[in-house]
């Protein structure tokens, strides 16, 4: 790990920097997707790359997700290391066959003889009134299907370090970045979207959760926005004398159950918070893993906070009503502590 001096970067600049470094290191790395060229990616994930690497390695595609994600698979099978962007995760439905039946399965179906060292990066998340077809995270939709790593970093530091790891990984990696954490000029400017990012190359391992705040009274598991909300709630809870431990999941597959269970063994209480739909979602998997492996550690029922199984409504207040937030987490923890 070579770092030089401390500096602050937005999430998207951190990601783009990782991609640039890897493209520099390895001529097989290239980027393709819609508006990844001159536009620099709708969410800025490829900003500056075309100027540096040219349009042969930063390729704007037609609006043909099946063809260009499939092409990334074909190129990866030939030893290239494509990074392909699916603009919004919500669009997965037009190309999911390529993603889960091919990208995710070919390594296994070939008995390990075909490697697909590729990254599918995609924007997730709502909260800005983009309604039902542009606001989802779909974390579990991807994580449920075996064969692809599915990661969702929450900080600029991790966005850079995990992108580097994802590109170097010989497995297909779905890399989800949250729109609100990119530091976009046209979104609500969040403090969490800017963070310390060392210059130069470094990696953060995939598949490891992180205890981002230690506490002894309750474990709150979240990722991306819900992790930040959890931290916010934890600060408020502290004022009430409640010490919450907050875990940033960072990776959905593989899922780092050990870190969660370790924490629950200490706190004996668990709240799981997710910006995805409630049922059959991340909150279910985390809860079930604990009910399986650490049931006797629990001193109170598990609590789950997520989108209550409705599509995401457009109206701002309705959307905020269904999305998890710091207040909701705070309230649930308070209730839980009283059980």
């Amino acid at each position: 790990m070579t770092t030089t001096k401390q500096r602050m970067l937005t999430g998207n600049k951190a990601m783009a920097e990782a991609i640039a470094i890897e493209m520099e290191r390895n001529p097989d790395v290239f980027v393709l997707g819609e508006d990844v060229g001159k536009y620099g990616g709708i969410f800025g994930s490829t900003q500056g790359l075309i100027d540096r690497f040219g349009e042969k390695r930063v390729i704007d595609t037609p609006i043909s997700e099946t063809a260009f994600i499939g092409a990334a698979i074909g190129a990866a099978a030939e030893g290239m290391r494509p990074i392909v962007e699916l603009m919004f995760v919500d669009f997965f439905g037009v190309c999911m066959d390529q993603i889960y039946n091919h990208m995710a399965k070919i390594p296994y179906m070939s008995g390990g003889n075909v490697k697909l060292p590729m990254v599918l990066m995609t924007a997730v998340g709502g909260g800005y009134s983009d309604a039902a077809q542009h606001s989802q995270t779909l974390y579990a939709t991807f994580a449920h299907l075996p064969g692809m790593k599915v990661v969702a970093p929450s900080t600029p530091y991790d966005l850079k370090g995990m992108m580097a790891s994802a590109i170097r990984d010989d497995n297909p990696v779905v890399f989800m970045f949250h729109k609100s954490l990119q530091g976009l000029g046209w979104m609500d400017p969040l403090d969490a979207a800017v963070g310390e990012v060392p210059e130069g190359e470094y990696t953060v391992p995939l598949g490891k959760a992180k205890v981002v705040r230690e506490g002894k009274d309750v474990t709150i598991v979240g990722l991306q926005m819900t992790m930040h909300y959890a931290l916010e709630a934890a600060a408020k809870l502290q004022e009430e004398g409640i010490e919450a431990e907050v875990i940033d999941l960072r990776s959905l597959a593989p899922l780092d159950r050990d870190t969660i269970i370790e924490s629950v063994k200490k706190t004996h209480r668990l709240v799981v918070v997710d910006e995805d739909y409630l049922s059959y979602g991340m909150t279910a998997e985390v809860s079930a893993s604990v009910a399986e492996s650490a049931l006797y550690e629990l001193e109170a029922p598990i609590r789950r906070i997520a989108i209550p199984d409705v599509p995401i409504p457009y109206n701002r207040k309705l959307e905020q009503y269904v999305l998890p937030g710091a207040q909701r987490i705070y309230d649930e923890v308070i209730q839980l502590m009283n059980e």
């Binding site: 508006d35 060229g37 009134s129 207040k317």
Partner: protein, 329 residues
């Protein structure tokens, strides 16, 4: 001139209404978004795709449609909706997220549904084409002469649904019309960089029973004319048509688009060729419509738009619990 004067006037008034509507929306959308632009702020949050400059595509074909005909539309839907006679008050209220909106505030600008005039739209590129195929199939099964029109952008013509739909509609001779609005860009990607064909009407060659027609230079009259034939073909069971129209996107892909991918000079030169102004001159010169009558049309259009915005702004927000309703009916 083959256009009946009443139609020509309707086209003018409707284009004017669309333009007023979009101009007003541009302003309303900007409210609460300066000095710092935040897509989630203001009375109209979320993405906003305006159709300013693209009016001819909408009116040229909708002039031939009735409430029984179906229109599906993509992420840039206002001009189609207005031309299809969607309830303007409810539509505007929907875009403001109000309880009185078409969808009680749950849909927003990209998800407008008015079953009374068989209009729908959606935010997924190319996804509306199969819905129009289904409406056309339903018309055929019911023995009705209804047609279904799917509006798409030229970028959407490269989505698989375009091909699948045309094959199926050609095969079954369905009353389907695909209108490709070629505004030269799919977000930042030019048509040349995305599309391996001169124009998408030529892709009719890939499907039996499918006709193709091209409209140059955003021309309302030509759009009317080729649409007339397409609608006739469809109603009489001869099969689908692809119409591509060369049109102009005056604004960014969405409001807030920095537009670094196109020359700044491009837009003024497009605006110079404005189809509404041109149509106004046609009305006066070729259709001999008195200037005063044009004034009245403009006033009516303006009034309808103003009323709609007033209605929208004055309407109530939905109650929170409604977020949990309408999932299973």
């Amino acid at each position: 001139m083959t256009i009946p004067v009443e139609k020509a006037k309707w086209m003018y008034e409707t284009m004017a209404k669309i333009r007023y509507f979009e101009d007003e929306m541009e302003k309303a959308y900007g409210e609460g978004k300066s000095p710092v632009f935040n897509i989630g702020a203001g009375p109209v949050p979320g993405e906003m795709h305006l159709a300013t400059g693209q009016e001819p595509a909408a009116v040229g074909i909708c002039a031939h449609l009735t409430a029984e005909d179906t229109v599906t539309s993509p992420h840039r839907p206002h001009h189609h909706a207005i031309a299809k006679n969607v309830d303007l008050n409810k539509m505007t209220a929907e875009i403001f997220g109000k309880a009185t909106g078409l969808s009680k505030g749950k849909g927003g600008h990209m998800h407008l549904f008015d079953p009374a005039v068989k209009f729908s739209c959606g935010g997924i590129v190319g996804a509306g084409i199969p819905h129009a195929v289904g409406a056309a199939l339903a018309a055929q099964m019911k023995n009705k002469d209804w047609v279904a029109v799917a509006f798409i952008g030229e970028g959407a013509a490269n989505q698989g649904s375009f091909h699948e739909s045309l094959n199926m509609a050609g095969l079954w001779k369905l009353p389907l019309i695909i209108v490709v609005e070629n505004n030269e860009y799919g977000i930042s990607v030019s048509k040349k960089a995305s599309t391996a064909i001169e124009s998408n009407d030529k892709r009719a060659a890939a499907y039996s029973n499918v006709a193709g027609a091209y409209v140059k230079d955003n021309d309302p009259e030509e759009m009317y004319r080729v649409s007339e034939e397409a609608v006739r073909r469809a109603r009489s069971g001869e099969g689908p048509t692809i119409i591509e129209i060369e049109t102009y996107r005056y604004l960014g892909h969405f409001q807030g688009d920095p537009e670094l991918y196109r020359e700044q000079s491009e837009v003024p030169s497009l605006r110079e060729k404005d189809p509404i102004l041109k149509w106004k001159n046609e009305l006066i010169e070729k259709f001999s419509v008195p200037v005063q009558e044009i004034q009245e049309m403009e006033n009516r259009a303006r009034q309808a738009v103003d009323d709609a915005y007033r209605f929208a702004r004055e309407s109530e927000e939905p109650v929170l619990s409604s977020a949990l309703e309408d999932v299973f009916i």
